[in-house]
């Protein structure tokens, strides 16, 4: 495996004077990164974590191909069945196959957490955090006050209000889109509640990350190599994305890894409360909601065990991976 080459023809990527003079470390962090990837794959814990994520994400992505039953195929003759050949993990209170429910729920988890982390975390969080920390002054003030407003209610309170109140409107929007495009699967596929949940998560997901990045940039921007870049006439955009971003990149990778786990947990929680993904669409939150209650826990512990094991191991895998990445990435621990 080779490192990512820096195209010398692109003028914006030429070495700045400071870099040429050796004031700045000339090895671009991207080159270091592929070495880090190899180092990560030599660690058994990291490999196990990646494997768990790949299995659960793979199950979710290929759910239509591998799930033995549909997520809502009820069989009232076969309720609370024990594991058997046709139902490897047994069935739930409506006689639905638990393995298939889990596979389809993984699909929901993948869709919502990836969408929320890409939009809220990566696009909004990184850009706003970099700008606030680097520009300071008015931009910092506006972004941080915006963040304060968005973050100044405990997110779960606002998520609860938003998902509890806006579902009908998002559904209306969905059916309007159906009318315009002639695609009539949108509302029945459950897409509105998916959009609502990931949208709400993204809306509040950027605040934490941008604060984190801002605080790093605040400390970094006083560093000599930034002063050197400024002195050599580098533009703000170049300093932000070329000098600062790679140096908060380690933090970012770890944070995004952890965010994926956290977003998965948030979706499960909202759906558990009955305001996330709407029944009968599958979610681990819905599976847990069906399984709690003392009589269910007493007599059908497997109902809670299936979603419990999958959700916990997915979140654990993301946390493990985040931890391993931190170890590998931290320059002082090599």
């Amino acid at each position: 495996m080779s490192y990512l080459p820096v195209p010398p023809t692109d003028p914006s990527m030429r070495l700045s004077e400071a870099e040429a003079l050796g004031v700045v470390e000339a090895t671009h962090p991207l080159r270091v990164r592929s070495r880090i990837m190899r180092r990560l794959l030599r660690r058994p814990v990291a490999v196990v974590a990646i494997a768990v994520i790949v299995v659960i994400y793979g199950a979710g992505i290929f759910a239509p191909l591998i799930a033995p039953h549909g997520f809502n195929d009820a069989d009232f003759q076969d309720r609370y069945a024990n594991p058997s050949l046709s139902h490897p993990l047994g069935t739930d209170s409506l006689g639905r196959d638990l393995l298939s429910r889990a596979i389809w729920s993984a699909q929901t988890t993948v869709i919502i957490s990836v969408a929320a982390v890409l939009t809220g975390g990566l696009m909004l969080g990184v850009t706003l955090g970099l700008l606030a920390g680097y520009l300071r002054g008015a931009a910092d003030f506006i972004i941080m006050r915006l963040g304060e407003i968005f973050g100044s209610v405990p997110p779960i309170l606002m998520l609860l209000i938003i998902t509890a109140t806006l579902l009908n409107d998002v559904k209306d929007l969905g059916s309007n889109i159906e009318d315009v495009t002639g695609q009539h699967w949108i509302v029945s596929s459950g897409a509105p509640s998916y959009v609502l949940v990931f949208g709400a998560l993204a809306m509040f997901g950027w605040v934490g990350l941008s604060r984190l990045i801002r605080s790093q940039v605040l400390a970094l921007r006083e560093a000599p190599y930034i002063t050197a870049a400024q002195a050599s006439g580098a533009s703000n955009v170049r300093i932000l994305f070329w000098h600062l971003l790679p140096n908060v990149g380690n933090l970012l990778i770890v944070s995004l890894t952890l965010s994926l786990g956290a977003a998965a947990g948030a979706e499960v929680g909202l759906t558990f409360l009955g305001i996330g993904v709407q029944s009968p669409h599958p979610s681990f939150g819905a599976m847990i909601a069906d399984a709690v209650g003392l009589s269910n826990v007493r007599e059908h512990i497997q109902l809670i065990l299936v979603p419990a094991v999958v959700v916990s191991s997915l979140i654990l895998a993301f946390n493990l991976l985040g931890d391993q990445l931190t170890d590998v990435l931290s320059p002082r621990h090599r």
Binding site: G137, E148, G151, V153, I156, T165, V268, A308, N319
Partner: protein, 326 residues
């Protein structure tokens, strides 16, 4: 105290009313915008529509939202936060504060336990780096931190309530001690405190371990060791003090998440705290209670965040509070 700090705090505090206005307006609008309202819900589907409309008219629910909001804010700044509709006619503060007290008791106890256990555990794991204890500790911390409350509550119920018959399955019971209602001495408090402690002790220990490791490799620690300082003095005076920086921010975040973090524990265990109250008030469209909880939660959050930022400035002088340019 630096002279800049006072003006910084004042400047930040000046923003609080604006934040409260925006958040309250958003919450108010969303609440009024939601399908159905409390009149419809309490009257049921078979009630006479004209009666329902008359009640709405009387209560001003048919007015434009901005008028209702203006009225709400006008009363709120005079200290009148309205009345609850379920239980009916009770002033909001009488509904909220007993419930807040329950949540605070559980969380405070869990916080004390998790800090008492988490900080030493995390430090120990970091100092034992390179031995079997460290990877073992990390594994256990991570496992415990990764199990969501939604999962741990039913599993702990299964174990302690159904198998061992040690603990009551849920609920809350108060006893009066010198005129103060305390529920934490009842066996019913054990399960929620255990769940919340488990949830935060593990993440706290993880952060602490990471921070201590970060500081251990710094030059000044090597210098301190090289000049012959005793190991425990180095750890306490040089390592711990610097490792506490991000930990202090976690304290702020925990305070900020007080109400939201309690929703799942309280709904699962049937504990009459703020989290359960909030969930009930949203689903029952108990507008005034919902608004008051959001305003209270917002105030707590903003103040907690301000404290975090001030702490940052104190511990790491490289972060200059409120400085312009530079």
């Amino acid at each position: 105290m630096a002279p800049g700090l006072v003006s910084y705090i004042l400047r930040r505090l000046a923003v609080v009313p604006a934040v409260l206005l925006v958040v309250s307006f958003a919450t108010f609008t969303l609440g009024r915008y939601a399908p159905s309202d409390y009149v419809q819900m309490q009257a049921g589907t078979r009630a006479n529509p004209e009666t329902i409309d008359r009640i709405r008219e009387e209560r001003g629910l048919n007015d434009p939202v901005y008028e209702q909001y203006g009225r709400y804010i006008w009363h709120a700044v005079q200290g009148d936060f309205g009345t609850s509709v379920k239980p009916r006619g009770v002033p909001v503060s009488d509904v909220i504060f007993p419930r807040l007290w329950v949540t605070v008791q559980i969380n405070l106890l869990a916080l004390v336990f998790s800090w008492l256990i988490g900080i030493p555990l995390g430090t120990l794991a970091a100092l034992k780096r390179g031995t079997w204890l460290d990877p073992f500790a990390i594994g256990v911390f991570l496992l415990v931190a990764s199990v969501p409350v939604l999962v741990s509550v039913p599993l702990l119920q299964w174990f302690f309530v159904l198998k061992l018959h040690l603990l009551p399955s849920g609920g809350w019971s108060d006893a009066s001690f010198f005129g103060v209602d305390l529920g934490i001495f009842s066996a019913r408090a054990i399960l929620p405190v255990l769940v919340l402690t488990l949830a935060s002790v593990a993440s706290l220990a993880r952060y602490m371990r990471a921070q201590v490791l970060e500081v251990l490799d710094q030059d000044f620690v090597r210098t301190a060791r090289a000049k012959g300082l005793r190991g425990d003095v180095v750890v306490v005076r040089h390592v711990l003090r610097n490792a506490m920086l991000p930990i202090v921010t976690i304290f702020g975040f925990e305070l900020a998440g007080l109400i939201g973090g309690s929703i799942f524990v309280e709904t699962l265990l049937g504990i009459p705290g703020m989290g359960l109250l909030f969930y009930e008030s949203v689903t029952a469209r108990n507008y005034d209670v919902m608004m008051a909880i959001v305003l209270l939660g917002t105030t707590i959050f903003v103040l907690a965040m301000l404290a975090v930022d001030i702490a940052y400035g104190f511990i790491d002088p490289r972060v200059r509070l409120g400085g312009v340019g530079g």
